[in-house]
Symmetry: C2
Subunit: 344 residues, 2 copies
DNA sequence: TTGAAAGCGCTACCAA
DNA sequence: TTGGTAGCGCTTTCAA
């Protein structure tokens, strides 16, 4: 495989390599006639610019990284699509990293992205604080956080209004006639989950209600953990004194709660109303369909990509510029799982 | 950001750049003492090898590509995880491309991977024949196809035994007492789907049954298309003369079929048994749980990565070596959707 | 508007 | 076992 270089093109076109470079990158004015000669020669030879030589000179890879905890989670794959779409539009490549929720895998991925000299990274960390984030920043790579607050300074964040989401989910159940409402929290340290919880508390307080600790428990965002949480609630409280509604920190767990309830012969939504967050495909398809709060996930991915591109192009000084965080409004999607008291 | 180069390390360690290179790449024997000096210097300076310079010399990127039609499809995300895991184990980076099932997006992705000079590509094309594949091959990039047969020569394939899967799904329904069985086919030109269909025909023939054309229709692998296929079946045949069982070319459509049947007040599985393929998470969670045929998807991704690495390392001549395709056995996962005649 | 030439950081050949 | 050095393919300054 002999590589066709810029020299070959130059020779064939009867010009200098510099001119070829200028034509290809449109980096300086070139006489029309010359340009055409060069383009013809490049075409004829099937010339593909050597990315490495280019990158070596320009000190930029035109590659961006996206780190998510679970690529098979529909929420993240949608986010990725949004971001990837934007990057590709701008002719940048993307490396997607799946940390499988493991902190050390996260660390490894960060090192790989540094090795690849990516121009920027979008992160959705499993943890609130990754060492990796500072590593990235120290290497001069801009970082944008999505859907999670970070403890590291200088990282702009793209978020949904999770607190508002938690509030509207809870108010919805209140409005449907539930007077006692439980909450299944997400993993400790995940801001998305804790803010939804905060919204829940706020909604209750606004109506003069208290949070009953016995109705609150935790899961880890998986289906299975939702089902277990449901069982735990029944064990703790007894079948007789369950809350009428439960707000669950994400859809996957909410589906688990519904299945768990079903197994325990508790009817959803007749005697237990359930609301989740995310509006994943599954939520429309299960029985009863899940009421949920949705965020513009695709859009959020896109905006995150835009911010990252901005920062990357800003170069050196961009790090200093304070960027404000973006917060997206959420929307309640009403389905049957929240029709408390209704016999389907 | 002044970059720390191999020269800086060499100076600090009091050796030549060549020696530093040898230590870092373990490409030639170096005295223990020297190695330690070099490592210490590199550590102290926080040296990160310049990927581009390396790649420019070695003519290899250590990056691999994976092209799938839909990253949010659980089947593909599992496949990706399997492959990515292997690549990362071997210290290679991965670029994942989502073609969204569009042919031109596929083309664009191929061009991007060529631009990135990846060392190899795993492809799951939406179409049976992509121009992109030959482009890749022509650029000297090894290609491995997964889950799809290709028409292009010289591309090893990693596949599930889809014909066997189609046969066992059909036989299962036959054994459960269905004497008439329909089939919802996948998109034209997707070998996975057409082989499952072939297995279905074979199973019927083996029992001396014929395929009733009125019971066969097509979808495009989405939930919605499954639901529509169900409606079409009812329109074509009338409610009275539907088959007792339907084999559906993938799980997502099968779930659509179940929902469609439900909407038309046809009871699954009491009066209609349904079987799908893939065993995605959703299949366990819907009601009734879907009987399906599963393939070792994660494992397939891993093997595909291994084949790709082999080819990439083989270099020039590897293209010539005939590689045999790998076919993986599938397994019937029996759940309630196929319990024909049973009232749940 | 164009060309000549230096050099990005690294590897590998040749020599010692 | 180590060092010197050419050159991978490209961009960019300087000069014409």
């Amino acid at each position: 495989m002999e590589e066709v270089t810029i020299l070959d093109v130059a020779e064939k076109a009867g010009v200098s390599p510099s001119t070829v470079s200028r034509v290809i990158n449109e980096s300086a004015p070139v006489a029309n006639e010359t340009r055409e000669k060069v383009n013809a020669a490049a075409e004829a030879l099937g010339y593909t610019p050597n990315k490495f030589a280019h990158a070596l000179r320009k000190q930029t890879s035109n590659v961006f990284g996206i780190i998510v905890p679970d690529i098979s989670n529909p929420f993240f794959s949608t986010l990725i699509r949004g971001a990837e779409g934007k990057f590709h539009e701008e002719n940048r490549s993307v490396i997607i990293c799946d940390t499988k929720g493991e902190t050390d895998k996260e660390q490894i991925n960060v090192e790989m992205l540094i090795k690849e000299r990516v121009d920027g990274v979008i992160v959705t960390s499993a943890e609130r604080e990754i060492k990796g984030l500072s590593r990235l920043l120290d290497s001069g790579i801009p970082v944008i956080a999505v859907d999670r607050k970070t403890k590291v300074d200088g990282i702009p964040t793209v978020m949904a209004d999770n607190e508002g989401a938690g509030r509207s989910a809870t108010e919805h159940l209140l409005d449907r006639g539930c007077d006692e409402i439980g909450f299944i929290r997400g993993p400790a340290g995940v801001s998305t989950a804790s803010e939804r919880f905060k919204g829940y508390r706020m909604a209750l307080r606004n109506r003069g209600l208290n949070v009953d600790r016995a109705f609150v428990t935790r899961g880890d965002f998986t289906f299975e953990s939702g089902r277990e949480a449901m069982r735990r609630l029944v064990e703790t409280n007894g079948r007789g004194s369950l809350p009428g509604g439960i707000v669950v920190a994400n859809d996957l767990m909410a589906v688990g709660v519904i299945r768990g309830a079903e197994e325990l012969e508790i009817e959803v939504p007749t005697s237990l109303a359930v609301v989740g967050f995310d509006d994943i495909l599954l939520s429309r398809l299960i029985n009863p369909p899940l009421t949920t709060v949705s965020a513009p996930t695709y859009e959020m991915g896109k905006i995150a990509a835009e911010l990252t591109l901005d920062r990357a192009e800003g170069g050196e000084e961009a790090g200093e510029v304070e960027m404000e965080d973006r917060v997206f409004e959420t929307e309640l999607v009403e389905r049957e799982s929240s029709q408390y008291g209704v016999k389907l």
